[in-house]
């Protein structure tokens, strides 16, 4: 991997001069890996709180309409949802291995792993698109009659709430996947221009963290929507609140 010197990410220290004309090197924070990590974690915690609020709403609706939620959940395609679960799981591995390779000096291997992660992210979106399309053709989609109350095609109200949350939360999660793909492409560009290197890999580290967060959110989204209605018996929920 060859980089022109003007493209490299060399840190040029700032020099401050005191009143006696003595020069002092100003402390730079470019290499502050821990600070970069802590800052990114603070951002991710805002994400946790945002999705946490959505889970809170979801739980309240579930509490109000347990049987409708179980019925609606039973109608989702668990094969497609499960496939996406495994796809995200493997993509978390490829992203992690990419970071390991980068830290170990294998830049080419790291880039290959990032491309593999992007590919898996696209597979995830493709599966999600197939799933949403099938639901649309079954008449279940935002704006269609089934999800509007007060007409002859309306689903039971609890199911309308369930599917409203389902499309909102999986949609928002999908937006995070798309942002993740964008971040990975940007990361590749930064690696190619020599601005992310085995020695300066905090951007790679933080984008890997972001991808793990996207995976982490799915770890709860998947069972909450797809699995709670999977059994024959009431899903562990006492009917009639």
């Amino acid at each position: 991997m060859a980089h022109d010197s003007h493209d490299s990410h060399e840190y040029v220290p700032e020099i401050a001069v005191d009143r006696d004309g003595n020069q002092h090197e100003v402390q730079g924070w470019q290499g502050d890996t821990y600070g970069g990590k802590l800052g990114f974690w603070l951002f991710m915690l805002t994400e946790v709180m945002m999705f946490g609020s959505m889970f809170m709403v979801l739980s309240y609706y579930f509490h109000l309409h347990p049987q409708d939620f179980l019925d609606a959940s039973a109608g989702l395609n668990r094969v497609l949802g499960g496939t996406n679960t495994v796809v995200l799981l493997v993509s978390a591995l490829t992203m992690g291995l990419g970071l390991l390779k980068m830290r170990n000096g294998d830049v080419k291997g790291a880039k290959l792993m990032i491309w593999a992660t992007i590919l898996l992210a696209l597979v995830f979106l493709g599966v999600k698109a197939v799933e949403w399309t099938a639901e649309y053709h079954h008449g279940i989609f935002l704006g269609l009659d089934a999800l509007q109350s007060g007409n002859e095609h309306s689903l039971p109200f609890g199911q309308i709430l369930f599917f409203g949350m389902y499309f909102s939360m999986t949609g928002l999660h999908g937006v995070h996947i798309i942002i993740g793909i964008g971040l990975m492409l940007w990361l590749l560009k930064r690696i190619n221009s020599g601005k992310v290197t085995p020695e300066h890999n905090i951007l790679h580290f933080n984008i890997a963290l972001y991808w793990d967060l996207v995976h982490l959110i799915w770890v709860f989204v998947f069972p909450y929507f797809y699995m709670i209605g999977a059994g024959d018996i009431a899903g562990g929920v006492i009917h009639g609140h």
Binding site: V90, L93, V219, G236
Partner: protein
């Protein structure tokens, strides 16, 4: 920079294996065991998976400050969660709200 490359790589694969096993359990649980407690079991399995991801993939193991920050954020969400759930149980417009008393 990293001297334990092989060991770390091996641990990544072990974590993957663990997560795959837990995912398989997620699939079979509703029809195979504790079927009366599906929701609780699913959330429990999800929590175990989340803990593994946080500790090993997100490198929280050994991170004291960031670890406590995460605990604080989760506590904050749980706290508001509890407050809201208590509050909605005493919702004064429950009988007339479209959400709590939808027209059938």
């Amino acid at each position: 920079m990293v001297t334990n490359y092989k060991a770390e790589k091996a641990s990544y694969y072990k974590v993957l294996l663990g997560l795959l096993v837990l995912t398989a359990i997620t699939f079979v649980q509703p029809s195979m065991f504790l079927t009366h407690y599906t929701f609780g079991m699913q959330m429990l399995i999800g929590t175990v998976k989340a803990w593994i991801i946080l500790m090993y993939y997100m490198h929280l193991k050994g991170e004291v400050l960031i670890g406590w920050t995460v605990i604080f954020a989760v506590f904050l969400v749980a706290f508001f969660f509890a407050i809201v759930m208590i509050d909605v149980n005493y919702f004064q417009f429950a009988d007339v709200s479209h959400i709590t008393s939808p027209a059938q």
